[in-house]
């Protein structure tokens, strides 16, 4: 009898709080988006599941002694996002960017989204009940970088409490790129601009691909050491792949190792989706600002391309400017698709991969600025 009462008192039904129930629904929603809608499933599925597990009453899976608590150390210590960045580096081909380096400027322009939403977050402080510190605002702004590991790395350093919402927003909007970007791209370009054909990319030699990650790292060391954890691990992964002499390490970095870390990272991010942290008006602000960041980043990239066309005789199709937000390779595919609608013989995919990977570098640089200037 006593046992039965004690059992009843240990059930989830008895112990549920409204907040936990809500967050569990959010977790199921993320699973639905991942599985049924195909929204960045590699991340949103573990995040969603982590959200469910961490909001189970009594079980304490995300508390001291629970597995999600231990996995979270991988984020807290900055290890997981850097290992993912290494794997992404090993997967990245800088060939298209090296063939047309000025597209790097498109990747620079798209980072306006980061700083605009940072300002936006500070502006939202006028709303009563919203209080974003400079650190909070910077962590929110980085959503505009459209790069998952960068966002998680910066958020874990500057605003760990907002990490769950920021990661969810970052990955969700990356999945929504095919919906967010096209209207902006169409509004800012003329039919003639969208028809612009770009000249075929030159062949990039293996030596250039080997030297590039080292060049990138060196520049980052000289100018912005605070970006070197991110840039360095990315360049390391890229060098392992480009050099061709450590293929077994490169393969492991871009397959098993990144898969293992993705599972752990996703679950650990999910463990930050607690009711107290997520069910706040702040979260609405984060979601709204994230969308703004993506939109402004897209627009800046497109406008930068149009600006560059004024000063250059080899024209750039401004659609590929939108790919500067990163969201690799989704944004490049979107540019290609919109381009094909206007000119069915114009394949922009490879041209868009240049600004696309430049956007990854751009947001890592922006992350370095934020980490270095905000104390």
């Amino acid at each position: 009898m006593e046992n039965l009462t004690s059992l009843w008192h240990s059930t989830g039904i008895y112990n549920f709080t409204a907040g936990q129930a809500f967050m569990m629904l959010v977790g199921f929603l993320l699973l639905f988006l991942a599985i049924k809608k195909g929204f960045e499933p590699l991340l949103l599925l573990p995040i969603g599941f982590g959200a469910i597990l961490s909001n189970i009453p009594v079980a304490g899976i995300a508390e001291e002694g629970g597995i999600l608590h231990f996995l979270y150390y991988g984020i807290k210590l900055g290890i997981f996002p850097l290992l993912i960045f290494m794997g992404v580096g090993a997967m990245t081909d800088f060939g298209p960017m090296l063939a047309n380096p000025k597209t790097l400027l498109l990747g620079a322009a798209a980072q306006v989204g980061i700083f605009a939403s940072l300002i936006g977050a500070l502006a939202l402080n006028v709303i009563p009940g919203l209080e974003f510190s400079l650190k909070d605002a910077a962590a929110i702004g980085i959503i505009g970088g459209a790069d998952g590991p960068t966002a998680i790395y910066v958020a874990s350093k500057l605003a760990p409490d907002l990490l769950g919402a920021i990661a969810v927003a970052a990955y969700s909007y990356m999945a929504l790129v095919p919906l967010i970007q096209p209207p902006i791209m169409r509004a800012l370009t003329t039919e003639a601009e969208r028809k612009i054909e770009m000249k075929q990319l030159r062949h990039v030699s293996k030596v250039e691909k080997i030297i590039f990650p080292l060049t990138l790292l060196l520049l980052s060391i000289l100018l912005l050491p605070s970006a070197t954890p991110l840039v360095g691990m990315f360049a390391f992964g890229n060098l392992m792949n480009a050099c061709g002499v450590v293929d077994r390490l490169s393969q492991t970095a871009q397959n098993e190792l990144i898969n293992i870390v993705t599972i752990f990272l996703g679950l650990a991010v999910g463990s930050k989706l607690s009711a107290e942290a997520f069910l706040q008006v702040k979260t609405l602000g984060i979601l709204a600002l994230g969308a703004v960041a993506f939109a402004i980043g897209t627009a800046s990239g497109v406008m930068m391309a149009k600006l560059m066309n004024r000063f250059s005789d080899t024209p750039i199709n401004p659609l590929i400017g939108a790919a500067g937000v990163s969201a690799v390779p989704m944004a490049a595919r979107v540019a290609n698709k919109i381009g094909l609608e206007s000119n069915p013989h114009n394949f922009l995919l490879m041209h868009a991969m240049g600004p696309n990977v430049a956007g990854v570098i751009g947001s890592a640089v922006a992350a370095g600025v934020l980490l270095s200037l905000i104390k």
């Binding site: 929603l29 809608k37 095919p178 069910l279 979260t283 609405l284």
Partner: protein, 79 residues
């Protein structure tokens, strides 16, 4: 000793009751679930819908943000 043994026996009855209760409820829930799925989501539809590319799901983007927004508001209003 006898106290220990009686806790053990109590534990056994509680334990087996819960195991049976749990798995019986799981049987019921599976039957309900399978019935609903076979009726409303017969096999052709889901398999194909899962593999359709993301770009086609134009309907859900706004409903998604709306859902989170609603959840937050509802939580706020009850706390």
């Amino acid at each position: 000793m006898t106290e220990l043994m009686s806790s053990g026996i109590e534990l056994m009855f509680a334990g087996m009751s819960i195991v049976f209760l749990f798995l019986t409820m799981l049987v019921i829930v599976i039957n309900v679930m399978s019935g609903l799925i076979q009726r409303y989501l017969p096999d052709e539809e889901p398999v194909s819908s899962i593999s359709i590319p993301v770009a086609q799901n134009t309907a859900t983007d706004t409903s998604y943000i709306a859902a989170i927004t609603a959840a937050v508001h509802q939580y706020r209003s009850t706390h």
